[in-house]
């Protein structure tokens, strides 16, 4: 049942021009950034080679590029998630799911799976860029894998938050804006942590989505970072299910 809803969600995405446009724009934009970083590396290659112990191309090009990817997807994911539930509520098609013998959990997980598969397609297309460096040399596979894992977890968290926001309102745009707002808040929450010292700001900065992404970009795999993302996703999926059930009590 979850798969049925996920498949329907993916089909709806690919039948609308939005998904294609987003894939194309993201690919073109990040392709350009990637190329300019590779060029930057090639220009400085001579100098870098003269110093011993300098970072290789993976650390020099790929890891910073994944930082850019995270930022671009931060802008893109809310646009994809905004219509998940709110569009169904606005057009009344949610009644079909409500009156069918499926649980709220299945609806939410199905919708989430659908969007995560779409984001997975996007991430694997982006992964082709660093992999293309194999054509001209060798790269650090371990670091690349850590980066990809981090990116996947990060966008999956974006999607979980976006899905929850989409449950809250029947207006897709409102869902997108509130997702942006909350994501940005979670993005910058560690700025306070770096400016001052103290327990509160430490806890605050621990909440930052980015803070758990950066270690993975350095190739540091800390299971607490992964657990953070898993908890983040479960929290918002749980809230979505709860909200969808409660929604039937309201007008």
């Amino acid at each position: 049942m979850i798969l049925t809803i996920a498949r329907q969600e993916l089909r709806a995405l690919f039948l609308s021009p939005l998904a294609w446009v987003i894939l194309a724009v993201v690919q073109a934009l990040l392709g350009y950034i990637f190329l300019s970083q590779v060029e930057n590396y090639i220009v400085n290659q001579g100098q870098l080679a003269a110093i011993t112990g300098t970072p290789g191309i993976t650390r020099f090009v790929v890891a910073p590029w994944f930082g850019n990817v995270a930022f671009v997807l931060f802008l893109v994911v809310p646009m994809l998630t905004m219509r998940l539930i709110s569009e169904e509520r606005r057009s009344g098609t949610i009644a079909l799911l409500y009156s069918a013998p499926i649980s709220m959990t299945e609806i939410i997980l199905g919708k989430y799976l659908g969007i995560v598969v779409f984001l997975g397609i996007m991430v694997s297309m982006l992964a082709l860029m660093p992999l293309s460096l194999f054509l001209g040399g060798s790269i650090d596979i371990g670091l690349l894998a850590a980066c990809l894992l981090g990116l996947t977890l990060l966008v999956a968290s974006f999607a979980a938050l976006g899905l929850f926001m989409s449950c809250l309102t029947a207006q897709p745009v409102v869902a997108a804006v509130s997702t942006f707002g909350l994501l940005l808040m979670l993005w910058v929450v560690d700025w306070g942590g770096t400016a001052s010292t103290g327990d509160v700001s430490n806890y605050l900065s621990y909440l930052s989505l980015l803070r758990h992404y950066e270690p993975l970009l350095k190739g540091v795999f800390d299971s607490s970072d992964v657990v953070y993302y898993v908890l983040f996703i479960s929290l918002f999926l749980g809230l979505s299910i709860r909200h969808l059930s409660r929604k039937r009590l309201q007008p």
Binding site: M1, T4, I5, Q8, R11, A12, L15, S16, S91, G92, T93, I94, A95, L96, L97, Y98, S99, A100, P101, I102, S103, R248, L249, P251
Partner: protein, 322 residues
């Protein structure tokens, strides 16, 4: 509460903020019965149907469908029902075939039987020719049919239709009514409408809601027997007393000096008596029309809450209420 009751609604209440949309409603629907819900706008028809479909949770009360509680055993209960909301829940970007396949699978029809179920329901709802068309490009009538197809694709015991003929042309209305009549018998059908003749032609039983309360409930066949009218016209009109003295005529209302509306006792030969008397006394009767649309009468009585005024303010035949 007989053993054949498919749906049991017990003390159902639903509030929207401070507004009580459904107020302590209880009724049952038997297997194979077509039940019509009538009521003026805002009477709580759609809310009742949304509650029955499980898209809305009640403030208090319970609904049993086939002995499953809709709110504590939602999956089992919802497997027994199909629902067409007032706006058909269509995904405009899908074709009719894709959409019905999706509906079949969310209603847990096994993969191997989906094709067959979809073909059958398309045949039944007259959608065979439009299978490859996009839902957003279908006419309103076809969209409505897809909406009904969606509600019956899994052969539920209970079909809930919210104003199924609204916005259709007369031919489509006729087709949809035939379809609903066909559905009754195998399925129980609950439909809401504000078109009185429609309810009278397709339903077995009628319930009238007013301000969220059940104001009236009776079978259509009984309603039709309940009272009869004769509209008569004379060139040489007699007095009221003369008319009311004829056996079987209980009341005479003068519409115009020569036109009278007679309330007759059901099952008597009042019409015959009248004609006989008219000939004998040279009243020159030239028009006699029987009339038995008593549902409107009941409806107006309930909604206006004033019998005498409603009787005088009856609209012409077949006029819808909005």
């Amino acid at each position: 509460m007989t053993t054949t009751a498919l749906v049991r609604v017990v003390n159902l209440v639903r509030d929207y903020g401070t507004l009580r949309a459904v107020d302590d409603l209880s009724f049952t629907v038997n297997k194979g019965e077509v039940l019509g819900l009538l009521g003026p706008n805002g009477a709580g028809k759609s809310t009742t149907l949304r509650l029955l479909s499980g898209s809305l949770a009640p403030t208090a009360g319970t609904i049993w469908i086939n002995e499953f509680n809709l709110f504590t055993q939602p999956i089992l209960a919802k497997a027994q029902l199909g629902y067409l909301p007032d706006r058909p829940p269509l995904y405009g970007e899908l074709t009719v075939d894709e959409y019905l396949q999706f509906c079949a699978s969310v209603n847990r029809i096994p993969r191997s039987q989906r094709r067959k179920a979809v073909d059958f329901v398309k045949e039944r709802c007259g959608l065979t020719k439009v299978g490859k068309r996009l839902l957003s490009q279908l006419s309103k009538g076809y969209q409505q049919r897809v909406g009904i197809a969606q509600a019956v694709v899994h052969m539920p015991a209970l079909v809930i239709l919210d104003e199924p003929t609204v916005g259709l042309d007369p031919i489509q209305i006729k087709e949809i009514r035939t379809l609903i009549r066909e559905l009754g018998g195998e399925h129980s059908v609950i439909l809401s409408s504000h078109i009185l003749p429609e309810v009278q032609t397709i339903c077995d039983r009628v319930q009238i809601l007013n301000r969220g309360k059940l104001a009236f409930s009776d079978t259509v066949s009984q309603l039709q027997q309940a009272s009869d009218f004769l509209n008569v016209a004379f060139r040489n009109p007699p007095s009221r007393e003369a008319l009311e003295s004829i056996s079987g005529i209980t009341r005479a209302d003068y519409r115009r000096p020569n036109r009278v509306r007679l309330l007759i006792e059901p099952g008597t030969d009042a019409a015959e008596q009248l004609v006989q008397t008219a000939v004998n006394k040279d009243w020159r009767l030239y028009e006699l029309t029987p009339e038995s649309v008593s549902l409107e009468q009941v409806f107006f009585d309930i909604v206006s809450g004033d019998t005498g005024e409603a009787f005088a303010a009856r609209p012409e035949h077949g006029e819808g209420l909005s």
